[in-house]
């Protein structure tokens, strides 16, 4: 039962961390929006999905990369990575802003119930994924190989591949940048102000619409970055790619304490690790069950997630 885990521990850990960082970025999309709106952005998985397609379109159609076994030559490689990363972030960011505009803004202006907004978000999520399904004929789409999956170096049997290393470094950097940004920039402060008290921040002269759009944009940018690293690593995508990943990332956000940026970091990483360990111990088929049981346990013990704000209130 534990033989695979022991035998392949470091290699499993490494892939768990790489997967975890992708979760971190996607769950930032959920957490940012939740922070300001107190609402699950159901369309985040589709925002992610558009990012994966953007990466492929840029790499394959604009840059004319074709699938091969070797890495691209260095200049082209850097160009591809830069353009794809930025393009993917941009597309996801724009889709996120579009989603806010179409599915959230009007309902928010009317101040109506959360559930109507949730259904509206589910609706736009169906529209986006169906749109892509029809365009791609339900087929998976290939991302041409950009990086050879060659081991750079090995530590205790875990081979550090270029794509893994890139994902981990970039994602960590992005996370730190976001964290600083929200802490210290003017917009970041406005976002935090809104997430603490919407009415008060309105009185203080914060343009609510702008801040919320910006929040969706930032969340989208993060999901877009995740989409790029995902496509770089797994090299294909499909119209429904966001569903499973989105669900996992949302779970990660909740485990960490939704609305809390550092919680998303912790939640994403631990979920990535739990998934690979659970798969190797209990069998891959019990992976999601284990994840959800852990979720339930965490929430029963810490109802606001591990990093959630500690509200000193008794509970029902």
């Amino acid at each position: 039962m534990f033989s695979t885990l022991i035998d392949q521990f470091w290699s499993l850990t490494l892939s768990g961390i790489a997967l975890g960082f992708i979760y971190v970025l996607i769950s930032l999309g959920y957490t940012m929006v939740y922070g300001v709106l107190r609402m699950i952005n159901f369309a985040n998985s589709e925002i992610f999905m558009f990012g994966t397609f953007a990466t492929i379109v840029i790499s394959r159609d604009f840059l004319g990369n074709v699938d091969g076994t070797k890495s691209l030559p260095l200049p082209k490689l850097i160009l591809t990575i830069t353009l794809c990363l930025l393009g993917s972030m941009l597309v996801s960011g724009l889709v996120a802003v579009f989603v806010e505009l179409v599915a959230y803004r009007r309902l928010r202006a009317r101040g109506t119930n959360k559930l109507a907004t949730l259904i509206s978000a589910i609706g736009i999520s169906i529209v986006l994924s169906e749109f892509m399904r029809i365009i791609t004929n339900s087929r998976p789409t290939l991302n041409p190989r950009v990086l050879e999956k060659k081991s750079l170096f090995e530590i205790a049997g875990a081979s550090f591949r270029m794509d893994t290393v890139l994902t981990i470094i970039f994602a960590a950097v992005l996370f730190v940048v976001l964290d600083r940004f929200v802490k210290f920039s003017r917009l970041g402060r406005a976002i935090r102000a809104v997430s603490m008290n919407e009415d008060a921040s309105k009185l203080m002269g914060v343009d609510l619409n702008k801040v919320i759009s910006a929040t969706f944009l930032i969340g989208g940018l993060m999901s877009g970055a995740a989409a790029f690293f995902y496509t770089l690593t797994y090299e294909n995508t499909k119209f429904n790619v966001g569903f499973t990943l989105g669900l996992a990332a949302f779970t990660a956000a909740v485990i960490g304490g939704i609305g809390n940026i550092r919680g998303a970091f912790f939640g994403g990483l631990s979920l990535g690790l739990v998934e690979v360990y659970a798969s190797s111990i209990l069998g891959t088929e019990w992976k999601s069950v284990t994840v959800f049981i852990i979720l339930v346990l965490v929430l029963v013990l810490k109802p606001n997630g591990i990093f959630g704000e500690a509200v000193q209130q008794t509970r029902a």
């Binding site: 209990l282 019990w286 049981i293 500690a310 000193q312 209130q313 008794t314 029902a316």
Partner: protein, 302 residues
């Protein structure tokens, strides 16, 4: 293969057992309290209804209440005053079980309320209103009050579903009682209107009516006169007196001094989470520390 399932099942079972056990214990405690209450009600002495003993509460380093001692006697109106942020509403929140005390305790009829669930506290006789009105807006005025009266009903969901005699009886009695309370407060004419469509003043009074619906021993009123004009305030003062005269004990948070001085039997003053005075209105009015607190003497000077 199945260990995962077992873990979940075991967890669920444990939690269920725990909840049921806790409920059981709570029920037992309730029963005891009920009996004691009854015997105490028999003695018509001026006795302590509610007591705060050394009550301290801190929020992540900030001390909201600092070793507050306060007694409320049966049948009086006690006003709790103090500058903004002094901790008045915090007292309400601790007494009604919203916050847990960091140390110290709250006693109702000499019974600690510590660890008691909020609805149990209501059931054994403490009801409150809210500073910012929190009615059930989609219910009618009458339904709001009936919801209050539901606390003491003994028929449950199935009784209601299958129309058991007791459920019918209690349902009818609740409606009658709610009408009585609305009449008592003087807003029965609004009984069929949705709460959120009611005029502001009526909403404030409806909150009182809803709290009275739970048949409390102690009624907590959180700024009931906020936003009232002088005429309405006079009317409210009369209502509160009427409530006291009907045998309820009232703990009142208010900013309007004339109202307080007019109706209170006693006044307690909080400042920065500490009780700085507790006496007859006329005495408190001339207390040096109270005047300082209200005039806003710099913090370092106090």
């Amino acid at each position: 293969m199945y260990n995962v399932l077992f873990v979940y099942l075991a967890m669920a079972v444990l939690i269920s057992i725990d909840t049921i056990r806790r409920d059981r214990i709570q029920k037992g405690k309730d029963q005891e309290r009920y009996v004691q209450e009854r015997t105490l009600l028999g003695q018509k002495t001026k006795r302590v209804l509610l007591e705060l003993k050394n009550l301290t509460i801190t929020f992540g380093g900030v001390t909201a209440l600092n070793a507050v001692n306060l007694k409320i006697y049966q049948g009086e109106i006690l006003a709790l005053i103090g500058p903004n942020g002094a901790g008045k509403t915090t007292v309400f929140n601790v007494v009604t079980g919203v916050y847990r005390a960091t140390s110290g305790e709250v006693l109702l009829n000499e019974q600690s309320l510590d660890g008691m669930k909020r609805h149990h506290i209501t059931k054994i006789g403490i009801a409150r209103t809210f500073q910012n009105i929190r009615l059930f807006g989609d219910m009618t005025a009458l339904e709001n009050v009936i919801t209050g009266t539901d606390v003491h009903k003994r028929s449950g969901l199935l009784g209601g579903l299958f129309g058991m005699p007791r459920a019918r009886r209690e349902e009818k009695a609740g409606r009658v009682k709610a009408h009585e309370i609305l009449q008592f407060i003087g807003i029965d004419e609004y009984s069929d209107r949705l709460a959120r469509n009611l005029p502001y003043g009526v909403q404030r009074r409806l909150e009182i009516a809803r709290a009275l619906g739970t048949n409390p021993q102690l009624l907590l009123l959180d700024e009931p006169a906020a936003g009232f004009n002088p005429a309405e305030k006079v009317e409210l003062a009369n209502t509160i007196k009427k409530i006291r005269d009907a045998g309820y004990t009232v703990l009142l948070i208010e900013h309007d001094m004339s109202l307080i001085m007019g109706i209170s039997d006693r006044v307690a003053v909080l400042d920065f989470g500490q009780k700085i005075a507790d006496d007859l209105p006329s005495v408190v009015q001339n207390d040096k520390r109270v005047i300082e607190a209200y005039l806003g003497v710099p913090a370092d000077a106090s």
